[in-house]
Symmetry: C2
Subunit: 338 residues, 2 copies
């Protein structure tokens, strides 16, 4: 039987593909965007030990809980938290119905794109902006507004979609942990209902595995339709000592892996990693992302108003936490496909 | 080749086993403790439709959220909520450290096993008992006390372990839903940290899928050890209109299946099943367990102080909820092995 050159070519492709697949399997790297080094070694060693049934450090699947901060840990947070960008966006969309905002701070500054003016309104001003844009509507209306923003709004300096400014190396870390039967949670100071709209899409983390700050709400039948109304009352701030409390209330067991990037995450890392006493010899992992890359992302730590990392830099070596030097350890920052 | 009778016997066993397995597969009943009838048909029809990719009613796996009340829906609740039995048990264990309880109500009555006296202390008295036994200790201490109770304490009239008084038909329902890729949650008025100690063991529901009433807590490093302290302040009551709110805050999406047994579950069933408007044609399931079996369990509804089911009996036919007549529809109440 004569073989045409086309057939020969097809066969070659099949053979080469088989080789390529073998190569992929044998050189498979679960964290391809992480440079080889201490951090990558630490992570893989930890996961290998706690998943090894013959290891003293073995952890049953149901206890493999990993918690991640969001702002500055899974996506960027400069020049201001992205949820604030959402709030500014909403102020502009809602301005027609609030003619008084044209002459009233802090809304006047938001409408004029005057960030200095907005920041001058202080915490009180920011709370007014958040309250006006996050409450006084139904759960469905709020969800739709977040969805619309998340699929269209772009960052003021990078021009990228906010939701594409997620860290590729951290996406791989989430995926690697899940492939090893971890349940991955977000534990963030951000609003829980804000994050939930897009966490499944961008991180593979379902709404029920998101812990965040909470406002009050009410349930009512309105015209016979079951409705949840968002109220302008802050109930829970999932930051600092609030993070272990959020974990206790929502997850109900101590994580074995926690990742953050700021002093707001210290309590979560302490809760996760510090031994309960001489009998507690379990292996735990604490990770802090250190923003050191002024070219590809941002560089900030001890003196930053957003994502301040000061005590954490001192605590990391004492507690055995892994400090990730973003500039040196990450091959890429954001996913290239997006 | 000659075949010995032993070999023949072995072959027969193999053939018979193959037959038996085939029989098992073909007659497999996911709800063997439910009598054939409308309820069983309703449940199986619903699950079949929403898992059929070719059905207009198909629901993607990640949206298959099912919520279950606990007291009276998954386990018994008479003659008083089992969590109260735990509280009484703790009062007795703690009495040595509280000599004043011997002469102070409501503790005096608890110590004297005088239930009439306890009930006479009213809601205020019950709150005092719950507060004294559920706060003022660390999360670990509380967890241990619940664990000890759950593995040893027995019911005043049946003599069974409280944790064995779970409904076998409901265990099968939970399992059936999970086998069809549902995520099963508890949404109960009970204390979230109380239930979490045993829900994985007795229902296969992990701590992070339990929603319940919450008290305040604080995080502190005590002698360098990360500690959660339980505070005597009620933060959230997961009952009535609180149930949809608990679902919104904890799960972040609307269930497609909800089960309860009392008027405290009405809002959850409304939230789950009532259409959002003419465009919302999604299939939803509401189930109410009706306690009708005075011989094998208890019979109570409109006039009961515990687990009152009054409005629910009127609403069920209007809303298309499935009312489970325990006496007629359940072959057994509790698991026989326990």
């Amino acid at each position: 039987m004569e073989i045409s050159s086309m057939q020969l070519f097809s066969r070659l492709i099949v053979i080469l593909s088989a080789f390529a697949m073998t190569a992929c399997v044998t050189t498979s790297d679960p964290l391809p965007s992480w440079n080889d080094g201490q951090t990558k070694t630490n992570i893989i060693t930890f996961v290998t030990k706690i998943t090894d049934k013959n290891s003293v450090d073995f952890v049953p699947k149901e206890e493999r809980i990993a918690t991640f901060d969001n702002d500055g840990t899974l996506w960027s947070e400069q020049p201001y938290y992205f949820q604030l960008a959402f709030a500014f966006h909403q102020v502009k969309l809602m301005a027609d119905k609030h003619p008084e905002w044209k002459t009233t701070e802090p809304f006047k500054s938001v409408l004029a794109d005057d960030m200095k003016g907005v920041m001058a309104s202080g915490e009180k001003g920011l709370l007014q902006i958040v309250s006006a844009t996050h409450s006084g509507m139904t759960a469905e209306e709020f969800e739709k507004s977040v969805y619309d923003w998340s699929t269209t709004a772009t960052h003021p300096t990078t021009g990228k979609l906010f939701t594409s400014m997620v860290y590729q190396p951290m996406l791989e870390l989430l995926q690697y942990l899940r492939a090893n039967d971890f349940k991955t949670f977000i534990v963030s100071g951000g609003g829980v209902d804000f994050m939930r709209v897009f966490t499944e899409q961008i991180y593979g983390i379902p709404p029920e595995q998101v812990v965040g700050s909470e406002i009050d709400s009410q349930f009512k039948l309105i015209d016979g339709i079951p409705t949840i109304l968002r109220e302008p009352k802050l109930l829970f701030v999932d930051d600092k000592a609030g993070k272990p409390i959020g974990i206790y209330r929502h997850i109900g067991r101590r994580p074995i892996f926690a990742a953050g990037n700021s002093d707001g995450d210290l309590a979560m890392l302490e809760y996760t990693t510090i031994s309960r006493g001489p009998d507690d010899k379990s292996l735990r992992f604490g990770l802090l992302v250190h923003h050191t890359d002024a070219v590809r992302e941002w560089a900030y730590d001890r003196d930053s108003k957003i994502g301040k990392l000061d005590l954490g830099l001192d605590e990391a070596p004492k507690q055995g936490w892994t400090l990730v030097n973003m500039k040196n350890e990450w091959k890429v920052i954001y996913p290239t496909a997006k």
